[in-house]
């Protein structure tokens, strides 16, 4: 089986079949990243082509020191953020999250975890949503987010905490359902207790 490095080399040389192979393998993942960060399906479609073009252009910068899937994930995030900036969707990065009491509707189809979170995240301000997705979903540090979005690490934290607090309200039904079903609360209570000397676990 051909290695990622070999396929990438061929793609860099302009081999259309290699490019198609990379696209076939990674499009579901890249599309998921673009969809999530864009928040809006139409916008995601608009910027997906540019993101892929940028990925193909950036292929020579993959050194092979990270897995190709990891690299392409990172590039996809970076290029999506660039594209979003260019359509001015991140202009209000530091704005205060508007208050609303909307609660994500629950129905059979929307109980899927990813869909519920995506839907709830769409109700955040663009900047807060991006910070939340980068930190809690993608695992970026606040320093990385700050560098990526041109804000301070403190600003990133502030946005994150506001986003989490709002999402907690928006996702209340889902949270209750999960806690009731799988005992997740007990799991986290135990974890909390371990982290803080058992104070809470003892209650």
């Amino acid at each position: 089986m051909e290695t990622d490095a070999a396929i990438v080399r061929r793609a860099i040389d302009g081999d259309e079949r290699a490019m198609r192979l990379l696209w076939n393998q990674h499009a579901p993942h890249v599309d998921a990243v673009v969809r999530r960060l864009a928040g809006d399906p139409d916008l995601a479609e608009d910027i997906a082509q540019e993101v892929w073009i940028q990925i193909f252009r950036a292929l020579p910068s993959w050194r092979g020191d990270a897995k190709f899937s990891t690299w392409i994930h990172r590039v996809a995030i970076n290029r999506t953020l660039n594209a979003l900036r260019s359509v001015k969707r991140l202009a209000a990065t530091e704005t205060v999250i508007e208050e609303d009491s909307a609660v994500v509707e629950q129905d059979a189809e929307r109980r899927m975890l990813a869909q519920s979170i995506d839907e709830a995240a769409r109700q955040l301000s663009p900047g807060a949503r991006t910070v939340f997705l980068l930190h809690d979903v993608e695992g970026y540090t606040h320093e990385e987010i700050a560098a990526e979005l041109g804000i301070t690490a403190g600003g990133s934290k502030s946005q994150l905490f506001k986003a989490r607090a709002k999402l907690r309200r928006l996702l209340a039904p889902l949270v209750e359902q999960r806690r009731g079903h799988d005992g997740a609360a007990r799991h986290f209570a135990d974890g909390y207790g371990e982290s803080y000397g058992g104070t809470y676990a003892a209650q």
Binding site: G14, W23, V34, E50, I53, F56, K157, V175, S195, Y200
Partner: protein, 274 residues
Amino acid sequence: MQPSSPHLAAERLAAFDENPLSAGELAHLAVCAECRTEYEAVVEVVAMAGALGAQLPSPDAPRLVEFDAILAGVGRSEAALAGASWATGEENAAATRHVQRPGADTPAAKAPRRVVAPRWRQAAAALLLVSGGAVLGRVTSLAAPIGASVALAGAGSDARRASATPVSLAARPFADETYGSVEQATIALNEAQREYERASLWLASNDTTMRDPEVFRARLAALDQMMEASRVALRDAPQDPVLNHYYLAAYSAREATLQALSSALPVDKIIERY
């Protein structure tokens, strides 16, 4: 046992992993069921978000964009970067089959390379500097039409003379130049692009007016308009090398201008909008 202190704020609880709760806050949490519920809920939200990141996307999900569209986009970029060398129908067809620039069969061309060389982008930015300058009225004394930059591209070996005598260049009608073949026009275009590159580098180190953020903002607004106009035109003629060249040049110039604007602003300022 009743809580002896006010409830913990939602945002405070949401910071549980960044700013550990104090002893007092822990004590409150221990006796306040309401805050404990809130705490557990926000931890659950964070855990769900983490699970979302680890979740594998469905391979059956509809694609946001088809591969052929991506390939066409990559081909457009390559075509413009190759000096519009895909101007013929035959070469256009080749571009859609195999995204490879002419001469890519040579060993040197097979070596890993940056698909978009920074120097080309600088050249493209310089192209827009000329045309953008016309839009902004920065070269109004020359009475140059917007097409002057294209005339410059077509001027070929005249480009160097033209740079020394811009008035005559501005007065040159847009379509006055003729070429014997596509190859000849391509050579002329490439030569002019190298001239743009030199001009761009010179301007980068000598043009002190470029430190004014207002100039950058005005240019960005103009570039946005130019990109939009190019985009509309490309819908009708997606393979047109001149339109692609304009679009890519505007895009490159916009990126370069955003970077320049960042460096021109005070260190404590960030670009949020313009």
